[in-house]
Structure formats: C-alpha cells, structure tokens
Amino acid sequence: MNTKLLIFSIISILIIILTIIILLNREKINVKYAIVWIGIFGLLLLLLIVPKLLISITSFLGFTLPSNMIIVLFISILVFLNIIITIIVSNQNRKIRLLIQEISILKKEVIDNEKTNK
C-alpha cells in the first residue's frame, strides 16, 4: 500500500478510537458499547499494520482483493451492529412506556389522595 495512504488511514483510525475514548471518559457512552467500536477499529488498525495477516485472511475467505474483503466484512459488521441497536431501542421503548404509565397512574393517585384529604 502507498505509504501516504497508509499513514492517513492509521491516523484516521487513531482519531476515531481517540474520539470514542474521549466520549467514554465524559460518560457520553456506555463502556459495553464503546468496547465494540474500539474492537472493530482496533481490528482494522491491526490489518493495516500487519499486511501479511490481511493477505492471508483475504485468500482464506476467497476474495481476490483485500479491499473487497475489508468492504464486505465491515458492511456486515455495521449491519449486524444496526440490528443490535434496533433491539436495544425497542427494549428501551418498552421500558420507557412502562415508566410513563406507572408514574402517570401514581401521579393520579397522589392528586386524588390530596383532594380527598382537603
């Protein structure tokens, strides 16, 4: 690979990983989600630094070009992650709904009690 391109790629990946670490540090994201992203970009970094590994995986999976392998692999990972996120969102919807319902009923009971005690 072209050296310039290699350096540019490595720097981009490092910036992404750093961003995730900063987000984690500021408690903007949960560690269990951050670790997935760090893992994915760590893997990409490893493949860039060790070209031999990249080439052997490419031929093992039957791809002609390493770039094709990377694209297919990462699209698959992103689709998978999106499905997981959909599951998480659906779960949170359910939990939020339960909270809204229970709090609203409780609020009504509290107001009713105040009225009868007056």
């Binding site: 939020i96 319902q101 609203s104 009923i105 609020k107």
Partner: protein
Amino acid sequence: MKILLIIPSYNEEKNILKVYKAIENFNKTHIIKYDYIFINDCSTDSSKKIFNRYNLNHIDLINNLGIGGAVQTGYKYAFKNKYDIAVQFDGDNQHNINFVKTIIKPIEEQKYDMVIGSRFKKKKKRYLTTKMRHIGIKIISLFIKLVTSKKIYDPTSGFRAVNKKIIKEFAFKYPVEYPEPVSIVYLLKKGYKINEEPVSMKKRLHGKSSINSWKNYYYMINVILLIIIIGTRRKK
C-alpha cells in the same frame, strides 16, 4: 359488576365534554352505572384544563405514548381498581354509549372473554367508511381468519369490552403496536373466546382520526406481518 369505560384522548378538547355528558346522562337514567377514566395522552390542546376544570376522572400521561400505550394505562388502572369489565371507548365521540350494554352482555353471561362492537357484522352497513378502508379491513379480517380460523368482521374497531381475565392479561402485556387487530390474534391464540356484536357508530365531528390516508399501506403491511408472526407462534 364494576364496569369501567377506558377513554383514550389525544387532542380531543371539543369532544371531551360530549363524551362525559353522554356517560352522565346514561348513568342518571339507568340502574347500572358506568365508571370512566380518560387517558390524556399528553394532549397539546387545552384538554388538560378541561379535565381539571370539570374535575373529570382522568390520568395525564407525562409523555405521549400513542393510542396503544394510552389504552394499556387504562387496563392497568382497571386491574389496580379491580374492575370486572373494561370497555374501550373512543374519546372522539364516535362510539354510542347505548351500545355498551350490547357488548358487555355476552361477557356478563360469561359466554365470551372479549366482545367487539362491529360495524360490519350482519350485512347491514351501519357506518359508512371509505371504500379503501373497507377493503383494508377485509384483508386484515382474511389474514386473521387464516391464522386463527375465526372470522372477525371488524378487526380494527376500537369499541370493545373485556372481562377480568383479559384486563389482567392486558395490564401486563398489551400489543401497543396496532393493538386493535393484533390483540385479537394474540387472545385467540391464547385460547380466549372472542365475539362481535353489531353496533352503529357516529361519524366524527371534530378532530382528526388517528389513521392518516398516506400511512394506510404502511399500516397494512405492518399489521399483516404481525398477524402472521403472532398467529403462527407455537402455543406455550
């Protein structure tokens, strides 16, 4: 028999008092009394003021949940307050209070667990809906028949009465997405008995119906997918 009318209400400021007065009038002229609960689904109009000014029995949802979540709140309330029968009653003044006794009668007689007020049963059309909507309803009806072998003529009717067992069922688990047709399949699959009684409904005078026309196709696809999935689930 403790009977509760669950009235979900979203931006129905013009209809609230009409619905309330209909219930009041009914209770004054009949021996049997209906309790009611309005579920205010975080309306953005002056609904909340009206509920408070007239001191109507209501729950203000602290956030908007949509019709499914609002109705389930009503079932939770019914369950907590030990009601024997809960009736879903629309807040847009489309349902006629005089038909409540029609749909609760089979439940009082313990013949059925849920009774749906149907616009289409017994050929006579009692409420003119748009042609497209009627076709949509027929398709949903067909799919329900396919997976449960029970013919429900008006699966999208929001006018329905349920007994104590189903109040409990719904308080804990209610299909909040497309609840009207989906809950039918869910209950039939669990072995509950459902029937329809013919009723007539009024055309709405104020406010917008919750089903917009351009969303209808999306609605249909979602409902059919859910019916097939729930309908083909294995019994546990």
